[in-house]
Amino acid sequence: MPEFSPTQYAVPLFVIAVLAEMIWARLKRPEAYEPKDTLVSLAFGLGSTVAGALFGGFALYVFIEAYEYRVFDFGDEWWAVWWAWPVCFVLDDLKYYWVHRAGHRIRWMWASHVNHHSSQHYNLSTALRQSWTGAFTFGFLFAIPLVLLGFHPAMIAICGGFNLVYQFWIHTEAIGRMPRWFEAVMNTPSHHRVHHATNPRYLDRNYAGVFIVWDKLFGTFEPERDDEPIRYGIVRQLGSFNLLWAVFHEWIGMIGDIARAPWRHKLSYLLREPGWSHDGSRETSDMIRERWRARTGQAGPAAGSVANGNPIAEPREAA
């Protein structure tokens, strides 16, 4: 079994690219960086690799067990089946779309993924602001269908690594738009800026990893507009550079909400979308967008759009 981690090899490139973007910022946009924010983002990155090494074993164990039940067998030299690699990469990116979408639409998942969105800046250091607590969600289960299809866990991990490396460069304001054909198919800085925005128009949009076509296919695509400056971060900005608070704040909030909620609502605080409350005292991203639409007279989503079609967000109680 080949042992290869694309992200490990990419670390020196990450450092050089961040350095280059800092020099760009010095010349063009000094406000694009904030030293304390950068320090927190980079510490997130370091912590996430340590957390992955400490807690990633369980997911690996589940994958190896599931692999025993694979439908197709690529043989002992599965890594030599060349066409399996691009197929795995594309399917893994499809998986990424859904796990990412779940990361925004299910609070349990959001408690972990919010880490990546907690900066009010959008630069290459933000890309390294990775979660420490992903192992405590069920995100890894989204990869089980690939394992059962017969893709070896190591192949999936390598494809996922390349996916992550690809996503690094799109976390920048230094690049405006890519060529039109590229923007049409691939995730780009422009598309991903939308994803990191807190503007109501952009909330919970553009979940893609590598191929933006998934968002277009599943109704969650929103193009970046030149007439609307983007505000980055989360709806309720942290207002703190405390690293541990940034890592755990949503877990603490969610567990507190579950503890305080009436029994029949407890599960909803775990499984429904961020911002949901049983007494309507808070706002979800859909509610914020609808209020913004009502206030500004913006058109609603096209008929038949599945953008908000998260089954867990149906207007019924999960508990």
Partner: protein, 133 residues
């Protein structure tokens, strides 16, 4: 002495992090935006909570923080956070203490921190915040 690869990688990454963060300081990245005018405060308030339309504003004289009130009577505390702003709509948990022209506000959220504003009319803002409790 054998150093475990993970430890070596972690230490190397830590060093790179400190170097990059230090470079951000050396390159004078960041800046310190100011809430100098009512328009600045209104814009920051609307960005902190979408749809918040301030009808009354008071910016601290140093431009690092402000208070804004909307037509519903909600009061938002805004503070500079790095080179951005972060706001909180105050609730009954908020506490305000006056020291001369300085108004010290605790929004009730420990990690957001206590914010000190130097205002022309701290007493009226304090009274309104106290009335929420």
């Amino acid at each position: 002495m054998d150093i475990p690869p993970l430890l070596l990688q972690t230490l190397g990454s830590l060093l790179a992090i400190l170097v990059l963060a230090g470079l951000a300081v050396l390159l004078k990245l960041g800046g310190a935006p100011s809430l100098a005018s009512g328009e600045d405060v209104r814009r920051a308030a609307a960005e902190a909570v979408d749809g918040f339309e301030a009808i009354e504003c008071a910016a601290s004289r140093d431009g690092t923080a402000a208070l804004a009130r909307d037509a519903e009577g909600r009061i938002m505390l805004i503070k500079r956070h790095g080179n951005r702003f972060a706001g909180r709509i105050l609730t009954g948990r908020a506490r305000a203490r006056r020291h001369g022209e300085a108004l010290e506000i605790d929004c009730g959220e420990r990690l957001y921190g206590t914010v000190v504003l130097v205002l022309d009319d701290p007493a009226s803002w304090q009274a309104r915040i106290d009335a929420m409790g």
